[in-house]
Symmetry: C2
Subunit: 436 residues, 2 copies
């Protein structure tokens, strides 16, 4: 059954996903001769770079989420529906969703990425992902519940599993999470849990390759590792996880770590929706796109952001899965869609690499801006500034800023709350359905 | 099995509940010759007077919650455990909890109150309570999900149920919630849902007695009602709910309202724990206490706040269930416990009534300070000032203040997020248990 949507005389651009790429594209189509229909399973945009601060009690979840409807307030050609898309039928120019079928003239896949366990089912069943707000809140509950449980635990083995925290994956998310856990331990736990022996609380960061922050400069890699070690994190590089059954993490070198908290930030893959020809799908569940972001094999289907693999000679693996790439592609595609309906020539996409950065702790960050590289206090302020500016919504910026100032001067993490009990997989909002 | 707690040479005061009364008492026992053990099912204190702003998207939940451990940072005689108390055994001076048995020298019941459905099972099964943060978040999800669903609903009857919002109970919570819903409708929905016919969105406030705000002055009652009517709320007084099956609310006068959202703020009762003699329990599931807050029939068991019924000639129904009463009793009982172990005379409790206030909307509140009564803008600022001052935690005060300023100037409600799907009863954190 077709879903009833407001009528429009203009061609319909159907955007799946309200992440960085999707919202940039939809914004840029304002006052253009299109009807923009956006679908997302949430009614809000998530600022993923700060999810780790929600998990570790530094920020309230609501300050990194922004209502999607509010972003497009007053945009007359914009229609939004909360739903999950089940299948794409490109040959019929339509998608099937939980609330009905929706046809399109142009389809934009902006679905982002999801956690990649590389097929390891046991790890998937027991480790904690951190890609959505419910997942981050779930992790926050688990960490705090484990601390509470440790106070009443008499079994020494179980006690250790409660107080060992393992982060797998040494990319920016893994580094930032391990650093935040270390600060939680050193600044908050000693006050909150005077009964607890802090020497028993251990934080591990496990990375398969020889260096952390693989995409950054050797200086940044070294400095990040030094920072972490200084902060008491056990950094294990060239270390591979063999298995994790929920209580023991086994490494390829024979080591094993008793732990009930494994945070999995070792990889992502495209959040693919069924229906695409096999030839258009490449490594990491991504859609192969050309320089105009058109998906291989299709003329009116596009992909932007993490789900898109724009493979060129300079970028044989595609572009990095970061917000600037998604934003630039969203902006560019909006322009090309308008060029197309105006019968003007399309322009190929050119990625402008803004550099990269990661924060480890207070006064401790690393920044690579091409040839300019710096680490430490100034890098940390730069990191905070860039993140505040990118955060969607003025209210959110103010609330995050207040928290950061507060945390800086008080050494505190104010939102260490177990609002809902930890569940292995948090329940996501169900797609909107008719009650009939 | 006894729960192991840190050793102490001093008598143990066991406080059940980290609400206004419990935290005031425990704070005042700092540096006194007691071991203070506090139990709560949450690891945070909830600022209940602002829960309705969480439900209606005006405040983030984390800004009205405060970690209990943090309140008592550095208080050496304080021990905290997250757990639910199952039974009190006064004759053995101990309580049974999910994590083991705990003995006491003095027991303080500070468990507060819970929603009272007056035995109406069908209403309990279908209406929404709003006494805890998970409940308030659940209500927020329901309200927003209903709006999203209405956009894809073709059945006219179901459509009406989604857009009729009914608040039952005309006390401060009911008045404040109805007012907040009206502001959400008038200031947010018209921007967020341009497709929606706002005339179809109706807000009802139902009260059994002839006046709203029964405990306040006739001026305040009249003005609150005028404010609500002006804001488009349908106020039905002398109106009794007969039944609610989840889709139709039936009133005693024969009227019926199709609605899938009924917010039940019609009554509270004490959050009683089994184990007390029947003679000590009075109307509304409360514990009868004397002027020293000792529970009738016991010499070392006390009750403060909403769970306590201090019945005197002037207050035949007990004291009102408000924060100042709980705080004053907590402070007073701490003093009397110290008097008792110091062999000094106990002092009877005297309630200092600070007056009462309720807010209806922006620039619209009512305040009764004994003989001084005022309504409108100044009352509204007074209401905000008093609530900000009572809110626990400086970070929370700042975040709430930022939100209020933001909401005032933008007419916005920034946290309209469906983070977790609505469930009839939100899952509460489970008490901490050993894994063994």
């Amino acid at each position: 059954m077709n879903l009833e949507l407001p009528k429009s005389e203009h061609p319909r651009v159907l955007v799946i996903g309200g992440g960085f790429g999707g919202i940039e594209l939809a914004k840029k189509l304002r006052n253009k001769p299109f009807q923009v229909v956006m679908l997302d399973r949430h009614n809000y945009h998530t600022f993923q770079p700060l999810l780790y601060q929600v998990s570790t009690g530094g920020l309230e979840p609501d300050s990194i989420a922004f209502p999607l409807r509010k972003i497009f307030k007053g945009q007359e050609n914009f229609v939004f529906r909360v739903t999950e898309v089940q299948e794409i039928i490109p040959e019929a120019n339509k998608v099937i969703t939980d609330i009905g079928e929706i046809s399109y003239d142009y389809l934009v896949m902006a679905t982002g990425s999801t956690t990649n366990y590389f097929g390891q089912k046991e790890i998937e069943a027991n480790a904690m992902p951190m890609k959505t707000i419910p997942e981050a809140l779930n992790l926050r509950s688990l960490i705090l519940q484990n601390l509470e449980k440790s106070l009443i635990e008499n079994n020494k083995v179980v006690y250790d599993t409660l107080l060992n925290f393992v982060v797998v994956g040494g990319g920016p998310t893994g580094v930032e999470t391990a650093g935040a856990l270390s600060e939680l331990k050193r600044h908050v736990l000693k006050n909150d849990y005077p009964e607890l022996d802090l020497n028993k609380v251990n934080i591990y960061l496990i990375e398969g390759s020889p260096e952390l922050l693989g995409a950054m400069s050797p200086q940044a890699q070294k400095k990040a590792k030094d920072f972490l070690v200084e902060m008491g994190v056990t950094v294990l590089t060239e270390s591979r996880v063999l298995s994790y059954d929920g209580s023991t993490l086994k490494l390829a070198d024979g080591q094993s770590i008793p732990t009930s908290t494994v945070i999995w930030s070792a990889g992502v893959m495209g959040e693919l929706i069924p229906g695409f020809a096999a030839a258009s799908i490449v490594r990491g569940n991504r859609l192969k796109v050309n320089a105009y972001n058109a998906v291989e094999g299709y003329t009116n289907v596009f992909a932007i952001g993490d789900i898109a693999a724009m493979i060129t000679e300079e970028t044989p693996l595609g572009l990095p899965g970061v917000a600037p790439a998604a934003i630039q592609q969203g902006k560019h595609l909006a322009k090309n869609l308008y060029n197309r309906v105006s019968n003007r020539a399309l322009e190929p996409f050119k990625y402008f690499d803004k550099g990269s950065m990661a924060t480890v702790g207070r006064n401790k960050a690393v920044v690579d801006l091409h040839k300019i590289r710096f680490q430490g206090v100034f890098a940390w302020f730069a990191w905070m500034f860039v993140h505040l500016m990118t955060l969607v919504g003025f209210r959110n910026k103010v609330v995050v800023f207040v928290n950061w100032v507060w945390n800086y001067f008080s050494y505190d993490r104010g939102t260490r709350l177990i609002i809902r009990e930890y569940e292995k997989r948090p329940k996501e909002p169900e797609p909107t359905q008719t009650i009939l």
